[in-house]
């Protein structure tokens, strides 16, 4: 197309360099760090598996893993379910409201993560808006405490933050489904539920799979929401642990090892989710 090979190489260089020196080399260094050890708070190169041994064998890390899962899994599921409901409405039901809704969601998508975290703290405190509303309407008489500094608080804020994203991802997938497909399925005698289960959901299967994993990873790696909205136990996630090790206590080897153990656990989540979605007919049995 009139673009010379040399020009293409020139065009690719900046991005290639960014990927190499911004992602690949740092990630490789981090991986190397996970085999180093600390001596008198100084990083000593070498090769030891002690860091991994410690992460795998210390019971406390198991508590962190379980708590991370108990936050990330509901966050991912609720974000994807809520996103599907919104996306379904946008793709198949909305008429005049469609443009307005889409803009409302795109604007929220560009909202600030920190503003959301901070706002939930204001909203759900003991004298916050939710509690004052609950008491003003006599739903409760004393402030409800579990809304703040709990696992629920973390999940609510994260779902809140991820919903616009999951909605847009699933919407883009649903809007490529031919609009006649659902009526056709209904004409052939399938119930609304069967149509959803057998036609619509499988066609959006890849987007649902991707969005679930994406939110799961981001939630597990979030180290700010759990600290500010979680309680003492519920803030103990892998994200906060790793951020602490590399940002505060400066135990680089242990933090790096924790991060790569987390990646292995991610891989397990990918495999289990794929298998269960295949079993449920939401993903094709064979990869393309």
């Amino acid at each position: 197309m009139g673009v010379s090979r040399r020009l293409v190489a020139l065009l690719l260089t900046p991005f290639g360099a960014l990927l190499a020196f911004g992602v690949v080399v740092p990630a490789a260094m981090l991986f190397a760090f996970s085999f180093f050890h600390l001596s008198l708070l100084e990083l000593v190169p070498g090769f030891t598996l002690d860091n991994y041994r410690k992460v795998v064998s210390t019971p406390l890390y198991r508590t962190y893993a379980v708590n991370t899962f108990l936050i990330a899994a509901p966050t991912a599921l609720l974000s994807v379910i809520g996103g599907f409901v919104l996306a379904y409405f946008l793709a198949f039901r909305a008429r005049r409201s469609r443009r307005f809704l889409l803009i409302a969601i795109v604007i929220a998508f560009m909202g600030s993560y920190l503003a959301v975290v901070y706002s939930w703290r204001t909203l759900s405190g003991e004298s916050g808006i939710i509690n004052s509303l609950l008491q003003a309407t006599h739903v409760t008489h004393a402030p409800v405490g579990f809304l703040l500094f709990s696992r629920i608080a973390v999940v609510i804020a994260e779902v809140n933050f991820f919903l616009p994203l999951t909605t847009l991802v699933i919407f883009s997938s649903l809007s490529s489904i031919p609009p006649g497909l659902e009526p056709a399925s209904r004409d052939l005698g399938a119930s609304a539920w069967t149509t959803l289960r057998r036609i619509t959901l499988p066609l959006a299967g890849n987007a649902l799979f991707g969005a679930t994993l994406f939110v799961f990873f981001l939630s597990a790696g979030d180290y700010i929401t759990p600290v500010f909205l979680g309680g003492i136990g519920s803030s103990a996630t892998f994200g906060t642990l790793i951020a602490d090790q590399l940002g505060t206590t400066l135990n680089y080897p242990l933090g790096a090892a924790t991060a790569f153990v987390m990646f292995v656990l991610f891989a397990v989540v990918v495999v289990v989710l794929r298998a269960s979605m295949r079993a449920g007919g939401l993903l094709p049995r064979h990869t393309r």
């Binding site: 197309m1 673009v3 293409v8 065009l11 690719l12 260089t13 991005f15 290639g16 960014l18 990927l19 911004g22 080399v25 740092p26 990630a27 260094m29 981090l30 809520g82 409901v85 919104l86 379904y88 409405f89 039901r93 809704l101 795109v106 604007i107 998508f109 560009m110 909202g111 600030s112 993560y113 920190l114 503003a115 959301v116 901070y118 706002s119 939930w120 703290r121 204001t122 909203l123 004298s127 916050g128 004052s132 804020a157 809140n160 616009p164 994203l165 847009l168 919407f171 883009s172 609304a192 990873f217 790696g221 979030d222 180290y223 700010i224 790793i242 951020a243 590399l246 680089y252 991060a259």
Partner: protein, 273 residues
């Protein structure tokens, strides 16, 4: 059937209210006259904005964030646009490998990018500075530029370029007079998206900033203390600056006669996200 569609409608309304609730609350309290963070509000006022703009630490945070966001928009815009051109115009094995690699920074948790940069900075004895902050931001925003500009390059009519060549234009003239004007709105849109992401990035910045305090980091340091109503005003700025940047760009593009729809970047982002 009517019952079911009502149920769907109610769920949609509830979800949209839920999505917008914290954003509205931040904005409402930022302009609240009272100092209580509870309902009802006590009249409109700009007292919190006056308060924070009188704070030296806030002003330097705003400045740092603005510098980082402008620099990120420029660098990510350049790196992403050149990459997108290469991917779209000459697919080769290397470029398609790089293109699939371009999604990696978006798929990784920002925490991982942050700590990987910590490892690299430690290894090569690089001190944290504005440079490292911008590097982190460029890493996460460039994929969005590639996505947005790449989408535009793929669905545009290459025959106009061929026509220009047939009419005797040199490749340089084609690039300057045909290609660039057609793609420019998308590049600008992508740069604004990069600006918006950079402006409230905190998860990576936390690791790359050292003593430089960007606005989100300023908010973060305030969150450690007791609830402080002036934080609403800062959070409102974190929301409003990116929205204004995107809004102004859209309006400006709408006033110019252009074949591409003004909302194209947002739509392309939504489609590809």
């Amino acid at each position: 059937m009517i019952g079911r569609s009502r149920l769907l409608g109610a769920a949609v309304i509830a979800l949209v209210v839920f999505i917008w609730l914290p954003l509205v609350v931040v904005l409402a309290f930022a302009f609240n006259g009272g100092s209580n963070l509870s309902w009802p509000l006590h009249g409109l006022s700009l007292r919190w904005f006056r308060l924070i703009f009188g704070d030296e630490a806030f002003r330097s945070g705003l400045k740092a964030s603005a510098i980082a966001a402008f620099a990120t928009a420029l660098v990510a815009g350049t790196v992403g646009t050149t990459g997108a051109f290469a991917f779209a115009r000459r697919p080769s094995r290397l470029s398609s490998a790089l293109e699939s690699g371009s999604r990696i920074p978006v798929m990784l948790p920002p925490l991982f990018i942050g700590i990987a940069l910590v490892a690299a900075m430690k290894t090569f004895a690089i001190d944290p500075s504005m440079w490292t902050i911008v590097t982190g931001h460029v890493i996460v925003t460039t994929p969005f530029v590639i996505l947005i500009v790449g989408a535009r390059l793929r669905n545009y009519d290459v025959t106009v370029e061929q026509a220009a060549r047939d009419l005797g234009a040199t490749p340089q003239t084609v690039l300057r007079r045909i290609t660039f004007p057609l793609v420019a709105p998308s590049i600008l849109g992508a740069m604004v998206v990069a600006f918006a992401i950079s402006f409230d990035e905190v998860l990576i910045t936390n690791f790359t900033s050292g003593t430089t305090q960007t606005l989100p980091l300023f908010v973060l340091s305030r969150l450690h203390r007791t609830i402080d109503p002036s934080v609403n005003a800062i959070a409102a700025i974190l929301l409003l600056v990116p929205w204004l940047a995107v809004g102004i760009t859209l309006l400006w593009q709408r006033t110019r006669p252009s074949r591409s729809s003004a909302a194209a970047p947002a739509e392309e982002l939504a489609r590809a996200a």
